[in-house]
Amino acid sequence: MSEKKSAKVKKRLKTAGKLGKLMDDYYKESAVVKAEKKPVAWLTSVAPVEVCYALDVFPLYPENYATMCSARKLSAEFCAEAEAKGFSPDLCSYALNSFGSIYLDKGPFMGKGLPEPDMLIATEHACLSMTKWWEVLARHYNVPLYVVDAALPIDDEVTSYQVKYFADQLRELVEFVEEHSGNKFDIDRFKEVLGYSDEASKLFMEVGDLRKTIPSPVSPVEIFTNMFPLVTLAGKRESTEFYREFCDEIKALAEKKVPAVPNEKYRLLWDLFPVWYNLRLFRYMEEKGGVVVADVYATAFGGRIDISRPFEGLAERYVANPILTSGVPNLTELYKRLVKEFSVDGVVFHSNRSCRMASMGQYDIKQGIFDDLGVPGAIFETDFIDPRTYSDEQVKDTLDSLFEILEARK
């Protein structure tokens, strides 16, 4: 389908247009900021972007960018370019996409790669590949890198010293960003930013809760595409305003029991990443009556912040994230809870070969949910942005078998 044609299709949600504008403004601003020689930082996802906004540093996200490259069908070429330079094809395709885009200086915006960073900020609590990827970027651009390291538990509570370690580094990060931006930190401004970030996250989680409504008032594609401000603009007033409107809109639909997808027969739990170059997979399931009503991908980016203790509060938001501190036993329990709370009939697992961290354990989790609740699951394997090994038939076969089981049970 041509872009022109799709642009003409009337979107279901009023907020859809606003999202487009937020994204557009953001990438346009990134080019302007660079031209004005204002500082630009590249961040990994789940990095404390609030520090950047509080210090007027423009944050860019190569991961979010990778999903856009994939949607525009550029990722295969970018990944291949990175492989030609010696990076293994087994590495995370977000990273390969990023390297390839840099080497070719190509991308979906104005035909160029992302504006170059003046500083780099990485976390490693979501996965270790992020730190390794950012080390490569630091060598390539020869700019300073700060890694916000985390001591993390697994299947256990986060301890006070683990929070302290992260919070101490947030204070160091403030000094790092001050030094490399020339801007001065102001605690009141920081608290204001944290307030916006917390509010956006709260509203987004509220939308998530509204998906318990039968039928679901919001579709998975609406959820996944609407994550952009949560990840990229966390701490900006515009982001919070957007989620207020989004939440109000979905709330009204939920009250009126307007379904996001007609013919909701089977309610599905989705684990974990979307297939960014093929969001039509959701449509495929929906045609069979399968609607994704819960996922943990979006929730991984949320979390409340105790603003009265800004550094510790922010640290807790990032470190005490159940998705990132759980192994098979706790994830199974978490999924079982979601299955019950969201009246889920079946679970779809996207085994993402780019994300060993998130995909490892899926076989056991699937079995655990089935053993304890009798809810069936299906696992298909592919890559989240690199379509080179994608097999539409295999994926659909897997989904079809799940639907056969669900059909037989109705």
């Binding site: 270790l128 256990d156 010293y161 036993p329």
Partner: protein, 367 residues
Amino acid sequence: MIADFQEKYSNRHQIAGQWKKDGKKVFGYFCGYVPEELISAAGIIPVRVLGSLDTVSLADAHLQTFICAFARSCLDQGLKGVYDYLDGIVISKTCDITRKMLGIWAKNINIPFTAFIGAPSKRTESARDCLTEEFRDLRSKLEEFTGKKIDDDSINRSIEIYNKSRQLLNELYEMKKADNPPLSGSEFYQVVKAGFVTPKEEYNEMLSALKAKLASSKPSGDGKIRLMVSGSTFEDVNVLKMIEDVGGNVVADDLCIGRRYFRDLTQPASDPIRALADRYQMKITCPCKHPSDERLYRLIEDVKEYRVQGVISIVQKYCDTHLFEYPYMRDMLQKNDIPFLYLETEDRMGEEGQFKTRVQAFLEMMG
């Protein structure tokens, strides 16, 4: 002599089974970042969990194809009951796979005790403070498990024994600087591997005896090409034997089952837990830690010190942290005019034939 070491490793499961019959407790640990000293001070024998050359049959139902052969083989052994003698496992946060292994083991293999050390990656003061607290927690958990206090004196004694062990391994390693090293690369790694599964007092006696014997031996000239092997872990020591068969000798390494395990000693301090935290946080880095450049700088230094003529990198397929560093390492070696061969393995070196051809070609090129 080497045969004694070899036996310790190949019979390790039977030996551990005997310990159990004698009423001893045995824990498994997953990589060189677990403070064995503490486990040992609790009166428990720590053994390193490693894979096997057996065909994997049970782990495939739990792990995707894109998980490394090392994790797969270890889990497979666990599922087959090979590690049933373990009373506990301790895992430290290094790679994402190791971290996630804990839950899969906990769910599928009956192990009374599990502990996870949420180790930081950086080498700052605050990272060491944090690891100190992690180690204190481990100490409490071990005390709770055994019902016995672990006093500072017993930790200090344990540190001393482990230091002695590392010291002896370093001395043996340094013998490889000689024109004709008294131990070949493959022999040396038989010696190291025995240490992962043998109580250190006993192991130290074996090492001392070996050292004395080697001091008086007169190795004959071999004229082999001096090589370094870099990578993480591999089960098949035969790959080193194969390198020797075609005219190379491994005289230095940058391996997680090699020098990275024993290079650094614990510096005594008034608080033994702090001393251990400093040792484990500051030891030569694995690529899972940040920043990890130091590993490569040291590698270049070692190449000079051990007069290495070429470096062979043996990397586990799907090992992200090593794979991310490969192009940088390649460029760094190139800049220093050090010949470099990169081999990717899925363990079970079924690729041996192909490996052999490539190593041969590499050695001929250096001729």
